[in-house]
Symmetry: C2
Subunit: 108 residues, 2 copies
């Protein structure tokens, strides 16, 4: 035990969970907000912005990328990361749909 039983759930459910999980860490939220703040697609100065060691940040970036939250482009010897708008839009729509459906119901 200890491992998530992903096979019991639909692909869509697993996908939503994966995206949410990636955002489910304050460092990754901070990365997301930094990428949103800077006007240009930013590279390694995320390390200077966030008080965690470089390997830790690299790992967080990897998880965000694996979940499709951000994209990464090689730019010379540095990396250019940026938010994937499509994924954010998908999450936004998901929660919008829930909100809409809840409006029609009386809750406890």
């Amino acid at each position: 035990m200890g491992a998530t039983k992903t096979d019991h759930f639909t692909d869509k459910q697993n996908n939503i969970a994966n995206m949410a999980k990636a955002i489910g860490h304050p460092a990754r939220v901070a990365i997301l907000e930094y990428l949103m703040k800077v006007d240009t697609c930013i590279c390694g100065d995320i390390v200077n912005e966030i008080p965690l060691a470089q390997p830790t940040i690299s790992q967080h970036l990897k998880e965000l990328k694996n979940a499709g939250i951000i994209k990464g482009n090689v730019e010379g010897n540095s990396m250019c990361y940026c938010i994937d708008e499509n994924t954010i839009a998908r999450l936004q729509k998901y929660f919008a749909t829930i909100s809409r459906k809840l409006d029609r119901k009386k809750c406890c």
Copy 2:
């Protein structure tokens, strides 16, 4: 090590992360979608709907409740859980804000 360094981040960042983390598991997404589907606030038949043991589901419900995603009301000897619209609305707005800001930028 191993513990998340929440003190390095803002309350808002930690809060967004906590909500996202709660949704970051397929069983909890399935619970959310079930609560959304049934017309009335549903109680213990979540256990019949989701292929996990009762204590596991109770634990997942607790996490969703702690993160403010769902609310729970005692209804006799059973529990009435339902989605907290405010929390969902907050998440929806968060992603909508990101989407809006990204629109004005050229990305990699």
